[in-house]
């Protein structure tokens, strides 16, 4: 079908996105909704703002995202406070 082939890095990003949305499912309805809106906004924003060819920075975001996902998977974690605080750091380095 006529979809562009995804690059390896795109697949990693989508897999991370899926991971966050899956992890959010395990939380309470209220936490889930809040986490989902943060995750959706964060990925959306980076997709728009980050230069597609800035591989080093995308790799950094992927690494950071994976760490945050590991934290979110912990049953005691109910939110993603670090996301919002990081927004100033998210500009291109």
């Amino acid at each position: 079908m006529g979809s562009p082939r995804l690059s390896g890095m795109q697949k990693q990003v989508l897999s991370l996105y899926r991971g966050f949305l899956r992890a959010a499912r395990s939380k309470s309805t209220e936490d889930r909704r809040r986490i989902e809106s943060i995750v959706v906004a964060e990925f959306r924003r980076n997709a728009k703002e980050v230069d597609r060819k800035n591989f080093l920075y995308i790799e950094y975001l992927l690494r950071r995202g994976k760490k945050q996902l590991d934290q979110l998977r912990n049953p005691d974690t109910t939110g993603l406070s670090s996301f919002g605080l990081d927004s100033s750091r998210n500009r291109e380095p």
């Binding site: 079908m1 795109q10 697949k11 996105y17 899926r18 949305l21 499912r25 959706v40």
Partner: protein
């Protein structure tokens, strides 16, 4: 009495070889039938009807906020017809997972880019409910 026990012994001796030769084939035949019955019941019970899957996939996609419901048809392509990007597609496929109660692995999810492809995958998946 003696004649009876002799007769029983004789019968037992006589019967045993027959049942022993009969047993393997009959039990194998039986378990095969049971297996076949369970298998076919499972197949019948677990694969969803394709038109039902199509209806449910279409309604999930119509409910997606960014989609114009009037553009959703069973042949719609997420990107080309509905204007969705890869992040939206992830969200739709995740919504389909919840609708059908099973998890779609990453490598399969990455391939789903239209309603038809989603329907084909879900209709061929025995765990879809």
């Amino acid at each position: 009495m003696a004649a009876r026990s002799a007769l029983l012994k004789y019968l037992r001796v006589n019967v045993n070889p027959i049942s022993r030769t009969l047993n393997p084939s009959s039990s194998a035949g039986l378990s095969f039938n049971v297996f076949r019955r369970l298998f076919s019941e499972e197949v019948r019970g677990s694969f969803l009807d394709k038109s039902e899957v199509t209806d449910r996939v279409v309604s999930v996609v119509k409910n997606f906020q960014k989609v114009d419901p009037s553009k959703v048809s069973p042949n719609a392509h997420f990107q080309n017809d509905l204007g969705l990007d890869s992040l939206d597609t992830v969200e739709i496929v995740m919504a389909l997972e919840e609708e059908f109660g099973f998890e779609i692995p990453d490598n399969e999810a990455d391939k789903i880019s239209s309603i038809n492809m989603a329907v084909d995958f879900i209709a061929s998946h025995p765990q879809a409910k």
